[in-house]
Subunit: 151 residues, 2 copies
Amino acid sequence: MKKISSRFSIAVHILSLISMLPMPTGDLIAASVNTNPVIIRKIIAQLKKAGLVNVRAGTGGASLSKTPAEITLLDVYRAVEVVDGNELFNFHEHPNPACFVGANIENALRESMLSAQAAMEQELASVTIERLANKIVACGQRSGWADQGSV
Amino acid sequence: MKKISSRFSIAVHILSLISMLPMPTGDLIAASVNTNPVIIRKIIAQLKKAGLVNVRAGTGGASLSKTPAEITLLDVYRAVEVVDGNELFNFHEHPNPACFVGANIENALRESMLSAQAAMEQELASVTIERLANKIVACGQRSGWADQGSV
DNA sequence: CTCGTTGTAACCAGTTTAGTTATAACCAAA
DNA sequence: TTTGGTTATAACTAAACTGGTTACAACGAG
């Protein structure tokens, strides 16, 4: 099966970085994520459209539009994992309406699908970029990292 | 973004149908789902491998290996949406270990990803095929369906 | 003006999805 | 035992998505 794309984890990485560094450029972020700068710019474009970051064109550099405490992982998820109808689960189309099950399964199943999705999103909404940044620092300290000044 | 494949909803459809009809053939199920019989057989093969259904080769027909009350949507999801490591979220690979964020984000973020996934799966685990079948009947009655005898 | 940066468009290879066709194996019943 | 309907599976297709690349125009501070 296809997983949720790595755009989400990259977007979280980007926002964490912006929250910890002053006005990083796309190239610098790309170096930390270890991917192509265009990938970063595309994802930042989505984050910008969602109102999460500001970007200074020309001279470069990105900053958060809200405080790290105001941005949740759900905001990030919704910004980059766009899907029609915001529905995570796909439904097979056109089940046979002449069959009792085919005619009625969609209504019956969709309810369960939506609550499963809602449970996941609620969990994402409970984590802010601020909390994640703190966790990153804690992970770094636990593993004996001292060089916070580097890229 | 890519949704969770419709295999899941088809698999649930199949199991609901089997729980309500005696030994339906793949072709009959395909008619209800409104797709190609080979699609049905492939999904049934996954359900069989997961120990959810028995299939009578040659003469045809499928039956449940457990009672409808013992099969949850999570069982179906796991049977059909196979993923390496059972992780729904993808992580971008090889973030820069020389960067403070790059070195530590994976540990920090994975925890939140896993609890989001766990919340969704717990919700799926709370619905059984039995409950869903009842809901299908309820939906059918609510919309004035009388012809339960048809395919 | 210039240089580094952002914003896009166009393109590419690999994977997944959903579906099709074809063929072999199976088994009960005639 | 042959026949017919069924299951099992391989091989193939078109479309979509992912992650990535190259190229180029627009921007703006120094």
